[in-house]
């Protein structure tokens, strides 16, 4: 009679699905659960001691206050800059849009700590840039960036592209007719923006704001470079200093701090989630855009203004950084005779830790990208085409390690792996493997979102046809689906590589000798007073990142729309 199998499908489908779900659970839920556990059950004994101690300490609340001030300030600045740029780029007829978006979004893909150093080098009495222009401030002037204002400024400029991208994605879905109807009714452009565009675009704008808030809150590199010298701690740097100074003995307290920052971030994450209903700038498929505003004689000034913003945010700081990397020591002015490539030579050839860091960063970023893409292609298949509440939950959970500040994941990982893994007996603490684990957990969503987007743009009948031809799921994934989502997967892999390559937050807490990353070595040089070595490393990582981003322009045609943030 019937050779039917269960209504749920074949067993191997289920093995694959549960395997993936289990993997995501281990990567996302397990570390966070362990973290929360440590806050309430420090060192194995249930007690509120750790919580009481941390919450009762003045330094906790000082740092929290500073975190909120800088996060809110940075977000407001980013919203103003990024929002305005988005409105101009999306609604007017400026030229060179693609090139501009590429340059404007680029700082977002570069390392935050490198950008911070670049900005530092733009100010202060010994700035090679200011010196060359003859406008360096006199001796004894403090660098204005070592302050809350400095942190807010750099964060605001650095994360403005986030608001830009989210708002722009929203503006793309605005039907042209709505704006044209208003214009036909006699409203001027500013009134249209005020009464029609902004009210309709409130959800994407607020979502971008929430995303920006969480990023500012969790960022480590900028307050590390700008806040530590000026003695202005925020929660991530406080966690870092506690852990660095006191070692694993401070883990329980650091766990409480991590939970605290996680909870604050949750406000932003939940807000973003509710506003965007699961869409974000990386997965938007572009519709035909509304461009109703003609600028006419304002066009050239507006274009100049836009490119000036990009110049100030990108070119100027990087120039200062480049100049710093060419001077032999701090405070030496850059002239034809003092310029030297010594810093580069040292960093590339003479310094063991730096050489190791290059290998480690390249290697770990590449491996993380490959592993994630391998996991994500089948996972996205289930998430896109087999709806179920469990899968929806898995999707949500996989976002946590990326949405939450990096310090949270790092501390969670330390707690999880401090002792050797049970049954296997191997300890990955203080090795590159714990950093790799965190990269995979944290950047999983960076691969997941583009691939899901790729699946959405796929015609399902292609898979059904292969099913009818007799192919089971593994073969279908391999022969039909993978070749078709490969471009989206490649885009995701690139995003992952770039982000992992440039990150500092996670590896600052997890590194040890032999597992240094470029971010760690950069930071270590800067802390030790060797700004020129730090600048050299910074320039090298910027060059690699920019080259990678440029290479995607070659692949431009084959990539699905909306997966790479710097491609319009």
């Amino acid at each position: 009679m019937a050779i039917a199998t269960g209504v749920r499908g074949r067993t191997e489908d289920y093995v694959l699905l549960w395997g993936l779900v289990g993997l995501v659970a281990v990567l996302s839920m397990l570390p966070l659960a362990r973290l929360v556990l440590e806050a309430f059950v420090p060192e194995g004994a249930f007690s509120f001691d750790a919580i009481r101690h941390v919450l009762g300490s003045a330094s906790t609340w000082t740092a929290t206050g500073h975190s909120l001030v800088t996060a809110v300030g940075g977000t407001l600045l980013a919203a103003v800059i990024g929002g305005s740029v988005a409105l101009v780029v999306s609604l007017t007829d400026i030229r060179g849009r693609n090139a501009f978006v590429f340059c404007y979004v680029m700082p977002l893909m570069l390392a935050a700590q490198v950008i911070a150093l670049a900005w530092i080098q733009m100010f202060g009495p010994s700035s090679p840039l200011l010196r060359m222009l003859g406008i360096a401030p006199p001796l004894g002037s403090p660098n204005p960036l070592y302050s809350a204002k400095g942190i807010i400024l750099v964060m605001g400029v650095q994360y403005a592209p986030l608001v830009f991208l989210t708002l722009r994605a929203g503006l793309r879905t605005l039907p042209q007719e709505l704006l044209e109807a208003a214009l036909a009714g006699g409203a001027g452009p500013m009134r249209v923006i005020r009464t029609i565009v902004l009210p309709l675009m409130t959800p994407p704008l607020l979502a971008g704001v929430a995303l920006c808030f969480v990023s500012c809150l969790g960022n480590f590199g900028i307050p590390a470079l700008l806040g530590i010298p000026g003695n202005y701690p925020v929660l991530p740097t406080l966690i870092y200093q506690r852990l660095a100074g006191l070692g694993p003995g401070a883990l329980s307290e650091v766990a409480v701090l991590s939970v605290l920052i996680g909870l604050i971030a949750m406000v932003g994450i939940v807000a973003q989630d509710m506003l965007l209903a699961r869409r974000d700038f990386r997965t938007t498929a572009a519709a035909i855009e509304a461009r109703p505003f003609e600028l006419r004689r304002w066009r050239l000034p507006v274009e100049i203004a836009l490119w000036t913003i990009s110049f100030l945010a990108l070119v100027l700081p990087l120039t200062a950084l480049l100049m710093t990397s060419l001077v032999p020591a701090v405070g030496v002015p850059l002239t034809a005779s003092t310029a030297t490539l010594d810093s580069y030579r040292f960093v590339l050839f003479a310094h063991d830790a730096a050489r190791r860091a290059f290998v480690n960063s390249f290697g770990m970023s590449a491996v993380a990208a490959l592993v994630i893409v391998t996991v994500v292609v089948p996972l996205a298949y289930f998430l896109t085409w087999r709806r179920s509440r469990l899968l929806h939950f898995v999707n949500l959970v996989s976002e946590a390690p990326y949405a939450l500040p990096g310090v949270v994941l790092a501390i969670a990982a330390i707690l999880l792996f401090l002792k050797p893994i049970p049954l296997v007996g191997i300890s990955i603490y203080n090795t590159i493997w714990i950093i790799l684990f965190c990269y995979i957990a944290r950047f999983l969503v960076l691969g997941l979102r583009p691939v899901i987007s790729g699946y959405h743009q796929l015609d399902r009948t292609l898979e059904e046809a292969s099913q009818i031809a007799g192919a089971r799921l593994p073969r279908r994934l391999l022969t039909v689906i993978l070749p078709l989502v490969a471009p989206a997967a490649a885009a995701g892999a690139l995003l992952i590589f770039l982000t992992a390559f440039n990150e500092l937050t996670v590896s600052a807490l997890l590194w040890s000798t032999g597992s240094e990353t470029l971010g760690v070595v950069f930071f270590s040089f800067q802390q030790g007073g060797d700004s020129n070595y730090a600048a050299a490393i910074g320039m090298l990582t910027v060059t690699v990142s920019v080259l990678l981003m440029l290479s995607t322009l070659l692949m431009a045609k084959r990539l699905p729309r909306g997966v790479l943030p710097w491609r319009d």
């Binding site: 330094s59 202060g124 009495p125 010994s126 001796l139 004894g140 002037s141 403090p142 660098n143 530590i228 010298p229 003695n231 701690p233 660095a244 100074g245 006191l246 070692g247 694993p248 003995g249 032999p328 020591a329 701090v330 405070g331 030496v332 003092t338 040292f346 003479a350 310094h351 063991d352 830790a353 040890s512 000798t513 032999g514 270590s524 040089f525 802390q527 030790g528 007073g529 060797d530 700004s531 070595y533």
Partner: protein, 331 residues
Amino acid sequence: MKIANFRNIAIAGLCALLTAGTVAAQAPKGKLVLYTSQPERDAAQTVAAFKKAQPGVEVDVFRSGTTEVMGKLAAEFSAGAPKADVLLLADAATMESLKKDGRLMAYPEAKVDGLDPAIYDVDRTYFGSKLITTGIAVNTAAKSRPTSWADLAKPEYKGQIAMPSPLYSGAAAIMLGTMTARPDLGWAYFEKLKANDAVAVRGNGAVLTAVASGEKAYGVLVDFMAFNAKAKGSPIDFVFPKEGLPAVTEPVAILKTTQNPAAARAFVDFILSDDGQRLAASMGYIPARASVGMPAWYPAGAKIHLMPTDTPAVVQANSANLKRFAELFGN
């Protein structure tokens, strides 16, 4: 133990016994884990030179500020799994506390000829490798030039002084302990500095950056950093204050729990050998064994007046001092 006045050593120059080739009958090999608070570049050079002398040994280095290195050690001790074999830290006070906890392995056969006995531990658990003094660094464009520590309390230096925080730097901790014990300086001096808007920054590296970049005109800084930067063209000068200079000896020690005692001893030998001492001088440090010669910046025939340090007293008062400093200057 008092560190005697090094004038005698400098002028008279103890005759250096030729240190025989210290290569043991059996060349040491395997892995050696070094924890050090030396600056990056110097740590790299030290390890590279050691590897040339002992090619069979692989060296793993962990480098950070003294506080952080001690924190890491403390963590490893409490987990019962210390990873380090040898330590090369800023000051003897740190080593004293480790010795008191019974963490150090004695090396009686170490070749200490030519070294002032004040430089190494009487029980041969740690050995000073060089002399690092702390003085006043001045940006060459600065208007005034201090000649003594007391000068820094004067009004014309207000808001222009950076100093390394003893909460982070071992050398600064020694400086704090040494100076607060003196009647002519004491805690009153630091209160005057605070009133003069001096800032405490994270480590000597930050002081160097601040002074060389011109953000502060004056800084409390270790000698070799100022002179090495000056040699590369940084606009910075170093002043030997009249009252004298506190000094640390950057001792090397072997941990009792070392996995590779042969290589560890070879490392100590290297540090104390003529080659190791010459390396220190070439990196800009005053070597422990004066006979190998002074670094290039050392004014010929000069006498550097050191502040004597009562190490056990400093160790005793350390945590109280740090707490008081934190209350005064902030965390």
